[in-house]
Symmetry: C2
Subunit: 608 residues, 2 copies
């Protein structure tokens, strides 16, 4: 061993001990005949003191930043203590040193506030990983990993590895494929998730399965997506939805405790998908703050009905509202005194292409009880007051109203709500609010193909009392305009998402475990019986031999870590991430391959 | 929850408790008006008693093998106790039951001694996994996983995930490659191991890394190889070989204790590679038994010298020995009374193509002190006695002698030794003998290309006192016939293998961490500087910025589990293995892919 102690463990108790340390030179400070060096390793920083006797040697072998240094020396008390450092009470009087390796000057500083840009840091990721800011993330990731494994182990879950070279059955996302040399003309696929395997394990009786496992999706990468990502993947047999919610609330609470020392004792809020959409405009609401949406007029069907017809706003001669499919409002607390400049800026914000609205209507609920609006012309003060009240505004608030097509307007209002929450400091990084979103629709309508697609995946079960509806109706949509009238539009899934601070961190469902129902599901998605057999014959087969009721959940491990670490970016929590073109710029991958490889695989390029 | 208890936990203490169980019907036995059912789940088997009152219901809904059944009932003491079952003292008086799912008749019996052949069991792997014999293996695998993680965690190792979509740099084995849709014409490779990444993590200062991780090699599958396999992959900084040996002896001993309750307290034997080859004929000797090889004549260089010139056997007029490059002997204990039939059978055994020898010479060391040999004609009794003594034979032993070309003869003698060990019951499944094999050659000579290849991999460091030899000599082999005279032939690697009962379960090395030495290594392997930069520029770059001394090891997780489970076959310890053509017969993968996938990936088939 090149060291007897690490750079993070020595304290006043170790005075006069002779130690050997090894690490990286963080800083070198010369004061006349003596030299101070901060030596860094994974565990901390220890100050080294090179006395006069080592002057000549140091001149012959000057130390530079990031040199790898081994020293022998005596622990002594520091005259100038540093209370911010765990080792700040001591320093090492160096008696001998060896430069184990030199370092070129790094392309950016190895500090929390580095001068390196994103591209440079990715290219030299091995140096970026030295920075404390990144190291903390990687350590947090391991802590989450460890905590999850411990909890699941204590609850009889077994880590069972499922294969990576599987069969391509694209449903939704694209598969990455792998040509098979031994089976020319054939390809493996990399798993988008171990979904069918974990279900087979339930059929096999393994009862409680988990894996922290890489998954792969060949999707166009939006910001903060990675072609390979990690899931905490779990499945249980003989359970109903309530059992799963209970078990995995426990998991997340345990992780909070182990990783952030947070006692999350409060009951986790539950919300139906319809309520989430209605009150927050999306299916993963950030409930750290209120500012719920008031549906002044809406085409969204809640419980199958149209609940807001625009009574408060229609017929005032304001065409924007009169002609809109949907008019939604939120009340931004304490913003009634926004200046013209500020409301203009907000208007520009909602008109950006990412949001895509035509404009923004506001009502200032002044603290003196008066109301002032950008649509004063159309609405008298009592009307404004009524709208503001509907939006839940109090004196001092600013009501913000968006109008337009249902889907876009709801999305825009949700975005505006989140933006106002951010601006008003209501989305605190150190506050964690969990939420279960329940009762998702089982199907979504795919307009281009005039057919149903699975909202979650084809293995999700309908709610028990919706199974009959599914079985007894023909999935074909005769009249595309009336797809909402089709019984399938109202089937709810036995599915659940766990949401943390406005991010979906996990999602799952109770699965189908009867062959006929699974076949019906494949048919509902437009799959022919032959196609279903070709793609999922093994699963349909398995359901013939005593499949137990089962369900599960998968957590997005990268995102969970990011949120726990107070970051929006999953990349910061992945040791070697890829960029938005799916490239690893450090490796320079992907890359061309040899002719020999093409020949062996019996494939060739077919560039367009 | 569909159950209040599992089928493995009820005992006499639970009498009169009302319970709900769910599981699979193992057997149904009708005795007049009452019916006994064995109900099975992951945890065990519980006997159910259906009384007369349920007769009608049972007639209406008959129970079949592997049906999924939920019952309510009362725990009661059994009249006819079964001491072989943890639940054998009790049974459940069923009060109500629900068939949760039916089962077709399984294609083979779900029992330890199943009637299903290998192919059938692989096709219905989800049923095979229900068998106790397989379940025990999967459970053992998880226990090894858990034990390894605990040990490594306690020793400050961090699980850090490395990427699966990397760059193709074939060195030795073939890469599996993955076409990149977003980077047309380019390919990712699946990692053969996380080797370079774990080294980068050491450069980054992470100090102690581990991962239990899937690796991929596109090799022709010999028996018991899988295209995807799992490693316990570890790396440490600031260590020398001795530190690694110490740390990972601890790991394996811990696994022995946790998984098999074995206290492996004895010192782990260490052996140089040369001694292993000399005494056992291969580099992973099974040291559960002796029967060491006597080198009567050998072209193998030990310490650079030819140590056995055939003094005992040459010049007796026996051409087979006179003309052989190598003559090796072992003494099979207690076999002196083998019949002619038995020695003939052994002769046939060594003549099989897998062994490939021309014949077998034997000397019977009779218990009366006389010697009898198949070459009596050439060797007088005192000569036979001398040879037998050289082979370490005692009275009652049978000396077996093989002669021929060095490499084949040594391999054959090793195989014969293992075979005799097996036949004589000296290789006990419940005995575990660990061994470190050390001081491997750094290079192997590749005849076809007249160049050096890395015996371990190109990142392995030479022994410290051989570094100068490597740096100061030109790797080019001027005269192929004299390659053994080249200084590189005698460079030893700072590498080590851990061997368990004749199987390599782990291997590793101290790594190169200096850019110049790494460049020299790439050059020694015939790589041009441009090629080295293209393939491993990131690693050479990393070595410029303060790379610490480091080393590591990787354990073959599948094989380790197999040996601990007393099996030769890793397939039995993988939940969803592939067959010898790399196929998953359950999934029917690999398979063809859609035209759309080809178009998107911009590749096409080029079948020969």
């Amino acid at each position: 061993m090149y060291r007897s102690k690490t750079c993070g463990e020595l304290s006043i108790r170790d005075i006069n001990q002779e130690v050997t340390l090894a690490g990286w030179v963080q800083t070198v400070r010369k004061f006349g005949a003596i030299t101070f060096v901060d030596l860094r390793d994974r565990y901390g920083i220890t100050q080294l003191l090179f006395g006069e006797n080592l002057n000549t040697l140091l001149d012959e072998q000057p130390l530079g930043r990031e040199f790898v240094l081994q020293i022998k020396g005596l622990v002594q008390e520091r005259s100038n203590k540093n209370p911010n450092l765990s080792t700040g009470d001591i320093e090492i009087q160096v008696t001998a040193f060896t430069i184990l390796n030199k370092s070129a000057v790094p392309p950016f500083t190895i500090q929390d506030d580095t001068d390196g840009g994103d591209d440079l840091r990715m290219k030299y990721r091995y140096l970026d990983l030295r920075r404390n800011a990144v190291k903390r993330n990687i350590e947090l990731r391991y802590a989450v990993n460890r905590s999850a494994r411990n909890y699941l182990h204590e609850h009889q879950f077994m880590d069972i590895e499922t294969p990576f070279l599987i069969k391509s059955t694209p449903e939704g996302a694209r598969d990455f494929v792998v040509p098979s040399r031994m089976n020319p003309g054939q390809f493996y696929a990399l798993p988008q998730s171990p979904q069918t395997f974990k279900q087979l394990l339930m059929v096999s009786g393994y009862d409680r399965y988990y894996q922290i496992v890489k998954c792969f999706r060949d999707e166009d990468l939006r910001a903060d997506r990675q072609p390979e990502f990690t899931q905490i993947d779990c499945e249980m047999s003989f359970v109903e939805q309530e059992d799963i919610l209970h078990m995995f609330e426990g998991l997340v609470k345990r992780i909070f405790k182990d990783v952030r020392n947070i006692d999350y004792t409060e009951t986790i809020t539950r919300m139906t998908w319809e309520d989430a959409m209605w009150q927050y405009g999306n299916d993963k609401p950030d409930i750290r703050f209120g500012m719920q949406i008031a549906n002044l007029k809406s085409a969204f069907r809640k419980g199958g009905a149209l609940l807001a017809q625009g009574e408060l706003i229609n017929g005032a001669g304001f065409g924007v509202f009169d002609n809109a499919e949907t008019v939604l409002a939120i009340a931004a607390p304490g913003c009634s005194e926004y200046t013209r400049k500020q409301t203009d800026e907000l208007t520009e914000w909602v008109k950006r292409p990412q949001i895509g609205m035509q404009g923004l209507v506001y009502i200032k609920c002044n603290t003196d009880g008066s109301f002032k609006s950008s649509v004063d012309k159309f609405y008298a003060e009592d009307k404004l007051k009524a709208i503001a009240e509907a939006a839940g505004a109090k004196a001092g608030d600013l009501v913000l109203i968006l109008a337009g097509r249902e889907e876009r307007t709801r999305k825009a209002t949700s975005e505006l709500r989140l933006e106002m929450g951010r601006r008003l400091g209501l989305r605190r990084e150190d506050e964690f609010k969990l939420l279960w979103v329940l009762d998702f629709p089982l199907f979504e309508y795919a307009e281009e193909e005039n057919r149903w697609v699975a909202r979650h995946h084809p293995f999700t079960s309908p709610k028990p009392d919706h199974i009959e509806v599914m079985i007894n109706n023909n999935p074909v949509i005769e009249n595309a305009d009336l797809y909402l009238e089709h019984p399938y539009a109202h089937i709810k899934a036995n599915a659940y998402d766990m949401v943390l601070n406005g991010n979906e961190i996990g999602g799952g469902s109770i699965r189908i475990y009867q062959r006929e129902l699974q076949e019906k599901m494949f048919a509902a998605l437009g799959m022919s019986p032959e196609e279903a057999l070709h793609k999922f014959g093994f699963l349909l087969g398995a359901f013939e031999y005593g499949a137990p009721p089962h369900g599960g959940i998968a957590f997005g491990f990268d995102r969970l870590c990011a949120i726990l670490g107070g970051s929006e970016s999953i990349r910061d929590f992945i040791a070697f991430p890829k960029n938005n073109s799916g490239r690893d710029v450090m490796l320079d991958a992907p890359s061309s391959i040899d002719d020999k490889q093409f020949t062996e695989l019996q494939i060739k390029l077919d560039l367009q």
